[in-house]
Symmetry: C2
Subunit: 346 residues, 2 copies
DNA sequence: AAATAAATTGCAAACGATTGCATTCAGATC
DNA sequence: GATCTGAATGCAATCGTTTGCAATTTATTT
């Protein structure tokens, strides 16, 4: 149906450095250097070669270049999904991080190779680094299980992890101040008059456990009830949250007046369950989320949440990775969070 | 701070095929073939070499392999963003497509190189294919401007585009039945009793214009008003939609009782604007979105929408791309849509 | 003009896997 | 024992860039 004209891309006449060199009557070394704007080459030579390259639509064979330089200019980004959960690759927050990383990487001349942890091979260092598919690895999410990540770190591969920076680890972790964020969220509800505040999420998950700590601290600081029933464990998806709240109310009635959710998706699931019961938000129950995904303010009522500054975080992660490329050690870093007050809380 | 032990990954002792061959006392050819399970090699030899490789944690240098075979096993996925819009890389629908593509590609043994159209180079065929960074290109979104895409097609690079399959093009386009989807959406509102239905979105955008056609057809079919003011043009973001509706109502009052939105994000923006004015959904105004993003059902009222089957679409796109790798021509394909009735419409 | 220094350019060896062809080896056949 | 066959393995060229070093040209100095 489609007639393809294989012109520039056909293998026969694909222009190589050597070909270009012949055309110009110089050596490949000269062309190679000229195209990199190496000052070793006379300025006029450089310029004429560059324009010749442009004229012939020349482009370097990156595979050859990688082989020779042992540099790929690619960073593998791995979504470290918890496989028994539905927190899928379509989680808006994770994807936002991917998007921001992509931009931060591009800005530094790197490309992003996207993978998820459910992929075939589990020896990431070998798969990505030793096989020279990528120069470094960024893992998004510590999940519940950090074995794979540890292995990469042990192998000495350049690595940065998005997660909770307070977790003691042998690798650099960049993440938000989860403890503080959750503390602020909880305190905000307390200030609004909430007395029985639910913590909704999975306290076993690395970042979430920090959030639980912040929640606890605020609760204790205000001398509020922190009975076990006020901790409602559920997967980090809106569906799980919806169901958890649904069941909880069915069994125990409305025994809380505030919810600190571990993510916006969780908060939104809870929100839905409450609204279906005509429970007024924020008057009967105040809700605070975490992440500040794009949709947070679109909801009714607009979701109060803790904003994670993913743009800044992405830049930091890339910077820390580049440091490792230069042989320097990378440091963990804490990214500031911010309480965004909207309408789901007083 | 972090003490790195460069073991397996240090350059000095990085194991190569040649090294492994020496260890085993055979030639590189044999090892190479054995690791690929080539029946030319005796079965026992194959197995012993394979286990030796595993034991030494050997992994092929992919750069070298690419250079030699001229195959990258990578597909570049380009988000073709409209640069004067905020429809950013964090658009949930686009990212869902990326996620599904990633899985579909992985399943076929390919990796996904993520890029966006705002990246440096605009000669994609050259940048990705000639430079052997990728074997093929998948472009997400035709945008308003298809010049770049046309160029890739002209260059003869393996290419598949996500967009509107009805658009006449020299390349394979995979996409939903936008016309029908929008027709069904509009008809659904009409069936619910709406008389003055607004089309909200950007009719100049390729896929959106098809959606406009479907809308028009349904309106005319029902002999309803299709005055110009019932077409409200706005960018495909929730923010733009929110503002468009806000201004429209401010200036003209509530002159419509239904909205056909070009995307869920647009629908949700409109929803918010309406709810802020205490306009009842779906009784005063019915709304239908497009895409069926994960969040659609979380909203209150849950959003009626046209579901795009991105999982299937991703599989088809990958299949069509693989066909081109084999020298066959690829065909455009239409993916079925489905009306998902929820609470934002009667 | 010769000698020296500096600026340009070219030579050729890598980088590590793949593969057509040649070689070896064991067993079968005459 | 010589020849042949087929199976198994090895040789060596190749993919296209990069780069240390050598070689050449040009400018500077004495």
């Amino acid at each position: 149906m489609y007639f393809k004209v294989y012109l520039a891309l056909s293998n026969e006449n694909k222009l190589t450095l050597a070909g270009l060199a012949k055309l110009a009557g110089v050596s490949t070394s000269t062309v190679s250097r000229a195209l990199k704007d190496n000052p070793l080459i006379k300025k006029e030579t450089r310029e004429s070669l560059q324009s010749l390259a442009k004229q012939y639509n020349f482009s370097l064979n990156h595979a050859a270049s990688r082989l020779r330089t042992q540099k790929t200019n690619v960073v593998a980004v791995i979504l470290n999904l918890v496989d028994d959960t539905d927190q899928s690759i379509s989680d808006p927050f994770l994807l936002k991080v991917v998007g921001d990383l992509n931009q931060a990487l591009n800005q530094q001349g790197y490309e992003l190779l996207l993978s998820n942890s459910l992929m075939a091979n589990e020896d990431w260092a070998n798969y990505f680094i030793s096989s020279s598919r990528a120069d470094g690895i960024i893992v998004i999410g510590q999940g519940k299980n950090t074995d794979n990540v540890e292995k990469v770190a042990k192998a000495g591969a350049p690595l940065v992890v998005w997660g909770d920076p307070k977790v003691e680890a042998s690798y650099a972790v960049v993440g938000s101040n989860n403890d503080l964020g959750s503390y602020l969220a909880t305190q905000h509800l307390i200030d609004g008059g909430c007395k029985r505040i639910l913590f909704l999420g999975d306290p076993e998950h690395a970042e979430m456990s920090e959030r639980y700590k912040g929640y606890s601290r605020a609760i204790k600081g205000a001398n509020l009830a922190d009975s076990a029933e006020l901790t409602l464990s559920c997967d980090i998806t809106s569906k799980a949250a919806y169901e958890a709240i649904d069941v909880a109310i069915l069994e125990q009635g409305l025994f809380f007046d505030g919810i600190v959710a571990t993510s916006d998706m969780v908060a939104l699931g809870a929100l839905k369950a409450l609204k279906e019961r005509y429970i007024n938000i924020p008057n009967d129950v105040g809700i605070v989320g975490f992440d500040d995904i794009a949709m947070a303010e679109l909801f009714h009522p607009a979701l109060t949440t803790i904003k994670q500054d993913t743009k800044t975080a992405a830049k930091i992660m890339v910077a820390q990775l580049l440091k490792q490329f230069n042989g320097d050690n990378a440091d963990s870093a804490v990214v500031d969070i911010e309480l965004i007050k909207r309408k789901s809380s007083r």
